[in-house]
């Protein structure tokens, strides 16, 4: 595209140079006016040439290249920030569960929450692995709280004691 514009400008300047030389050589008189008119038409042809010869398909593919690059950069950044959001959600959920466990008498050693990507386009806590030696009543209560507060169903709560790990 740049080449096209460059050649067009050279064409205009070349035409102007030639017309200037021809006008300078033309002797004074009514013929000079006619020669000037012809030079004017030649200049119009040079100026309009780009509009006639311009390759619009090339130009739009030139535009779309930049758009593709921009989209790649943006999606890369969004992916990384999405991972960070997931990490924060998992951490917060783990802290929340540990806090609840302490309120119920403790005994929970480690918690590992795994987030999943929902259909609506957000991360949500989907699975939890709990390790510790909690009393069974406290364990039940904690499991209920996890279901009602975090929405992690019972079948996705994996309990294990210290002896099993």
């Amino acid at each position: 595209m740049i080449e096209t514009v460059r050649n067009w400008i050279l064409c205009i300047i070349g035409t102007a140079l030639i017309c200037s030389a021809v006008t300078a050589l033309t002797p004074e008189g009514t013929s000079k006016k006619a020669v000037r008119t012809v030079c004017g038409f030649a200049s119009v042809i040079a100026v309009l040439a780009i509009a006639v010869d311009f390759n619009y398909a090339d130009y739009s593919s030139y535009l779309s290249l930049y758009r593709v690059e921009a989209d790649e950069t943006i999606s890369d950044a969004l992916q990384k920030s999405s991972q960070k959001t997931r990490f924060i959600i998992e951490e917060e959920c783990e802290a929340y569960i540990l806090d609840k466990a302490n309120n119920l008498g403790g005994g929970l050693d480690t918690v590992s929450v795994t987030a999943a990507w929902s259909e609506q386009g957000v991360w949500y806590p989907a699975r939890v692995e709990l390790t510790g030696d909690m009393a069974s009543e406290a364990r039940e209560q904690l499991a209920e709280e996890i279901i009602f507060e975090l929405g992690i169903p019972k079948e996705k709560q994996i309990w294990s004691t210290d002896n099993e790990t």
Binding site: L10, G29, T30, K33, F41, I45, L48
Partner: protein
């Protein structure tokens, strides 16, 4: 007699200047080739220049022999010839504009 001498010297001067004009035309062809100016446009411009020079010469010869009316006629004929030579260019411009609108 004076008129004949004037005509002869005019033609002689033209003859000697042909080489120079030839070099100028070559230069214009080089510029046109480098700048991408169409040969058709260049040939019209150079032919218009030639016609203008001949028309001026004819007009001045007529003035020298005291025929002012003929001189005007010669100039007018020269202008008309130039515009006739330029008809293809004018048609091209019209086609280009028609294509754009």
């Amino acid at each position: 007699m004076a008129l004949l001498i004037a005509v002869a010297s005019g033609c002689l001067a033209l003859y000697f200047v042909l080489d120079v004009v030839g070099s100028i035309t070559e230069f214009l062809e080089d510029v046109a080739a480098s700048a991408g100016v169409s040969n058709a446009v260049l040939s019209v411009l150079v032919r218009s220049l030639g016609v203008a020079i001949m028309a001026k010469l004819a007009s001045d010869i007529c003035k020298d022999s005291g025929m002012a009316t003929a001189s005007t006629g010669a100039e007018l004929a020269g202008s008309a010839a130039i515009l006739y030579i330029a008809l293809p260019i004018m048609r091209t411009v019209f086609q280009m504009i028609k294509g754009l609108i």
